[in-house]
C-alpha cells in the first residue's frame, strides 16, 4: 500500500473521481497548469484539460456562484478556495444560494458541489492564512461540513463528498498537509460522511478534535498515558452531519470530555458539542465539559503557538479534568 501525505491523497481522490465521472470538474484560482498553490490539483490539467480543470478570475464569490450554475446544470463541480480565510467573499453564495437551493425550490433543483479549502494556523500565516471558519458553515442548514485529519480519511471522504447529493465544505488541515503521512489504498474507496472515529480507546476521559488539532490531541493523550491517564480520542471527521451516537457512547463511558479546536472559543463548535453532551450524558458526567480552543482574538502572527490549543495546553486540561 503506498504511503501518501494529505495533498497526495486529495490529488489522488480528485484524479480517480474525474476519471470515473466526466461531470466532475475542478475550478478555482491557480488550479490549472500550476496545480494549485498547495499542489492539490497537480497534474489534473495535463490529464483532463483546461475544460475540466479551470483557472478562474480572482473572485471567490464568482467561483462559487459559477459552481452553483454548473451544479444546477448537472456537473459536479469541486471549487477550490485557495485559503479558507478568503471564503468570505463567497459567503453569500454559500449561505444564501448553495445551502438553500434544494430547500427553497421545494426539491426541484439541487446544488451538489464540494468546496475544498485549506484551513487552520501554525504556518506563520497571520490573520489571513490561518483561520478556521468551519462553525459558520455548520450553523447554516443545508451544508455538510467535514474535516479530515489524515491521508486515508482525506481520500476516502473526498470521494464520498464528490458523490454526495448535497453540498459539502471540505476543510483541509494545511498545517499537516505534508507532515501527516500514512498508508492509503490504491484505487477508490469511501469513508462515510457523518461518522466519527475512535482513534484511541480509553476510560479516563474523552478527547474530541478534528483536522490538525487531532494530532495535538493524540500527542497529549500519549503524554497523559505516560502519566497513567488513559484517554479516549475521537476524530470527529464530520461536523455536519454529526455522529452524536459515537460521542455520547464514549462520554457515557468515561464521564469526562474535552473538546479541542483552533477556532475562537465563543460560539465555536466546541460550544455545540458541550451543549449536546450535557443534554445527553448529564447523569454520567463527572466533570464539566471543557474546551481547549483558540482565543477570542483574531489569529495572531508572532504568538501563534501560544494561540493554538496544542498538546501542552491539552495536557494541562486533561490533568485538571481528571482531578476535578
Amino acid at each position: 500500500m503506498p504511503t501518501m501525505n494529505i495533498i497526495q491523497a486529495v490529488n489522488d481522490a480528485l484524479r480517480l473521481e474525474m476519471r470515473r465521472d466526466p461531470d466532475v470538474v475542478v475550478l478555482g484560482e491557480d488550479v490549472g497548469k500550476f496545480g494549485g498553490v498547495f499542489r492539490a490539483t497537480q497534474g489534473l490539467y495535463d490529464e483532463f484539460g483546461a475544460d475540466r480543470v479551470m483557472d478562474t478570475p480572482l473572485a471567490e464569490g464568482g467561483i462559487i456562484g459559477t459552481a452553483v450554475g454548473m451544479a444546477l446544470y448537472g456537473l459536479r463541480p469541486v471549487p477550490e478556495i485557495q485559503f479558507a480565510d478568503f471564503i468570505y467573499p463567497a459567503f453569500d453564495q454559500i449561505v444564501n444560494e448553495v445551502a438553500k437551493y434544494r430547500y427553497r425550490s421545494g426539491g426541484q433543483y439541487a446544488c451538489p458541489m464540494v468546496i475544498r479549502t485549506p484551513y487552520g494556523g501554525g504556518i506563520k500565516g497571520g490573520h489571513y492564512h490561518s483561520q478556521s471558519p468551519e462553525t459558520h458553515f455548520v450553523h447554516t442548514a443545508g451544508l455538510k461540513v467535514v474535516v479530515p485529519s489524515n491521508p486515508y480519511d482525506a481520500k476516502g471522504m473526498l470521494i464520498s463528498a464528490i458523490r454526495d447529493p448535497d453540498p459539502v465544505l471540505f476543510f483541509e488541515p494545511k498545517r499537516v498537509y505534508r507532515a501527516a503521512k500514512g498508508e492509503v489504498p490504491e484505487g477508490e474507496y469511501q469513508v462515510p460522511i457523518g461518522k466519527a472515529k475512535v482513534t484511541r480507546e480509553g476510560s479516563a476521559l474523552t478527547l474530541v478534535a478534528w483536522g490538525s488539532m487531532w494530532h495535538e490531541v493524540e500527542q497529549a493523550a500519549r503524554e497523559a498515558e505516560a502519566e497513567g491517564i488513559d484517554c479516549e480520542v475521537i476524530d470527529l471527521r464530520s461536523l455536519q452531519p454529526l455522529d452524536t451516537d459515537t460521542l455520547v457512547q464514549s462520554v457515557k463511558k468515561t464521564g469526562r470530555a474535552i473538546v479541542v479546536h483552533e477556532a475562537p472559543r465563543t460560539c465555536g463548535f466546541g460550544a455545540e458539542l458541550a451543549a449536546i453532551l450535557q443534554e445527553k450524558c448529564f447523569l454520567h458526567l463527572e466533570a464539566p465539559i471543557t474546551r481547549v480552543t483558540g482565543f477570542d482574538t483574531p489569529f495572531p502572527y508572532t504568538l501563534e503557538n501560544e494561540y493554538l490549543p496544542r498538546a501542552p495546553r491539552v495536557l494541562k486540561a486533561i490533568r485538571e479534568v481528571v482531578s476535578y
Binding site: V25, D51, R52, M54, T56, P57, A59, G61, G62, I64, G65, T66, A67, V68, G69, M70, A71, L72, Y73, G74, L75, P77, P89, D92, Q93, N96, E97, K100, Y101, R102, Y103, R104, S105, G106, G107, Q108, Y109, A110, A141, G142, K144, P165, D166, G194, Q240, P241, L242, T244
Partner: protein, 399 residues
C-alpha cells in the same frame, strides 16, 4: 430632475494618457434601439422585426395576463389574503420580449419580477398562485415568501432575494452546457440597482473571459426601491459597462416588445455561435412601488411617472397590432375578459388547497435525506404540536 453625476463637471482636458471625457458620449455610442414608436408605428427597419403578427398577438395576450395578475395580486395583498407581492407593471415588454427570444432548451435565471417568464415557460398559473399563498399546492412547499418561485420543467431557476446572485449562476450553467456540448444559452435578469452588486461584476467578468453563451438583461427601471438610477452608477448608460468587460452592449427601448425581442434574438445568436455574451440594457420604468411593502409617494414626485404611463408597453403593442389589423377593440376586450375570468377561476382553485403544507415538509429538502438531527427535531416539533396545538397559531394566545 438634475442628474447627480453631472458629467460636465469633469475637466475636459487633463494631462496623461487618458481618453478625453465627452459628456453624452456613451448615450451616442449606445443609441436607444427602437422598432415601434409610442403610437404603434413601425419606425425601425422591417427586416429587423423577428416576430410575426400572430406571435406578437400571443405575447400581447401574455402581457395582458401578466398585468392583470400583478394588479389583482396587489389587491389581494391589500385585502390581507397574501403577505407580499412584487410585480412587473410597466416592465412586461422587457421581460416577455427577451424571454420569448430564447430557445426552448435555454435556461432562465430570473430576478424577482420575471413571473411572466415563468408562466411562459409552462409554470401553471395555479402553481404560481399557490406559491403566493404558501399553501399545500405550492411547489416550493411554503418555504419562501411570495414571488420566489422556481419551475424546473421550464428551466426557470429558483428566485432568491439577495441582489444579483443569479448572474454568476447563469454563467456557470452556460459554462457547463459548453462542456457538455449542449446548444444552451443562458439568460439572466437584474435591475440597474443590481449592477452595483459584486455578483454583477464577477458574473460579467467570468462570462467575458471565457466568451460564454449568456445574455445579460438589465431591466433599467430607474429605481432601486427609493434610490434613483443616478445614485446607483456614475455611468451615463448601463450598456457601456459592457465595454470594460470585453463584451457587446446594447441599449434598448425596454417598453418596445419588438425591439427587446430582436435585440435578444441577436444576442442569443451571437452567444450560440461562440461570439460571447451580451449585456442588454432595457430602458424602462417602475411605474409602481418596488413591492407592496413600498409607497413611492414618499420619495418620488408623481409627475416623474406620468410620461411613462404614456409609454406603457401594452398600450404600444395594442396600437401596433391595431395598425396591422391584427387586433380591434372588440378582440382586445375579449382578451381582457378572458384573462379576468381565468384569474378568477384559478384563484379559486388555488385557494381551495389546504392552507399549509404538511408539518414534516419543514424538515425535507434541507438535505437529500434528513440527517439524524433533523429527524430528532421533527419528532420534537410533532410532540410539541400534539401537546399544545397553539404551537401552530400565529398568536399563541389563540385557542
Amino acid at each position: 430632475m438634475r442628474r447627480e453625476h453631472e458629467v460636465g463637471a469633469v475637466p475636459r482636458r487633463q494631462r496623461g494618457n487618458h481618453r478625453e471625457w465627452e459628456p453624452g458620449r456613451f448615450v451616442k455610442e449606445f443609441p436607444l434601439y427602437r422598432l415601434v414608436a409610442e403610437d404603434g408605428e413601425l419606425v425601425g427597419p422591417p427586416d429587423e422585426v423577428t416576430l410575426s403578427d400572430a406571435e406578437v398577438l400571443k405575447l400581447y395576450e401574455l402581457m395582458v395576463l401578466n398585468r392583470a395578475l400583478d394588479e389583482r395580486m396587489i389587491t389581494l395583498q391589500r385585502q390581507g389574503r397574501i403577505g407580499f407581492y412584487i410585480g412587473s407593471i410597466g416592465e412586461e415588454a422587457s421581460i416577455l420580449g427577451s424571454a420569448a427570444a430564447m430557445d426552448e432548451q435555454d435556461w432562465i435565471f430570473p430576478c424577482y419580477r420575471e413571473h411572466g417568464a415563468a408562466l411562459m415557460r409552462g409554470m401553471p398559473l395555479v402553481t404560481f398562485l399557490c406559491e403566493l399563498f404558501g399553501n399545500a399546492g405550492d411547489a416550493m412547499k411554503g418555504r419562501q415568501m411570495p414571488c420566489h418561485e422556481a419551475w424546473r420543467p421550464g428551466r426557470f431557476t429558483s428566485i432568491s432575494s439577495p441582489i444579483s446572485t443569479q448572474i454568476s449562476h447563469a454563467v456557470g450553467a452556460a459554462w457547463a452546457a459548453r462542456l457538455k456540448g449542449d446548444p444552451m444559452v443562458a439568460i439572466t435578469y437584474f435591475g440597474e440597482g443590481g449592477t452595483s452588486a459584486h455578483d454583477f461584476h464577477t458574473g460579467l467578468n467570468f462570462a467575458a473571459v471565457r466568451k460564454l453563451p449568456v445574455v445579460f438583461i438589465c431591466r433599467n427601471n430607474g429605481w432601486a426601491i427609493s434610490v434613483p438610477r443616478e445614485r446607483q452608477t456614475g455611468s451615463e448608460t448601463i450598456a457601456q459597462k459592457a465595454i470594460a468587460y470585453g463584451m457587446r452592449g446594447e441599449r434598448v427601448d425596454g417598453n418596445d416588445l419588438l425591439a427587446v425581442h430582436a435585440a435578444t434574438r441577436r444576442a442569443r445568436a451571437r452567444a450560440a455561435a461562440g461570439e460571447g455574451p451580451t449585456l442588454i440594457e432595457c430602458v424602462t420604468y417602475r411605474v409602481e412601488g418596488h413591492s407592496t411593502s413600498d409607497d413611492p409617494r414618499a420619495y418620488r414626485p408623481a409627475e416623474l411617472v406620468e410620461p411613462w404611463k404614456q409609454k406603457d408597453p401594452l398600450l404600444r403593442m395594442r396600437r401596433f397590432l391595431a395598425r396591422r389589423g391584427a387586433l380591434d377593440d372588440a378582440a382586445d376586450e375579449r382578451i381582457r375578459a378572458g384573462v379576468r375570468e381565468e384569474l378568477q377561476r384559478v384563484l379559486k382553485e388555488a385557494e381551495a388547497f389546504a392552507p399549509k403544507p404538511p408539518l414534516e415538509s419543514l424538515f425535507e429538502d434541507v438535505y437529500a435525506e434528513p440527517t439524524p438531527l433533523l429527524r430528532e427535531q421533527l419528532a420534537e416539533l410533532e410532540a410539541a404540536v400534539a401537546a399544545d396545538p397553539r404551537v401552530a397559531n400565529p398568536r399563541h394566545s389563540d385557542a
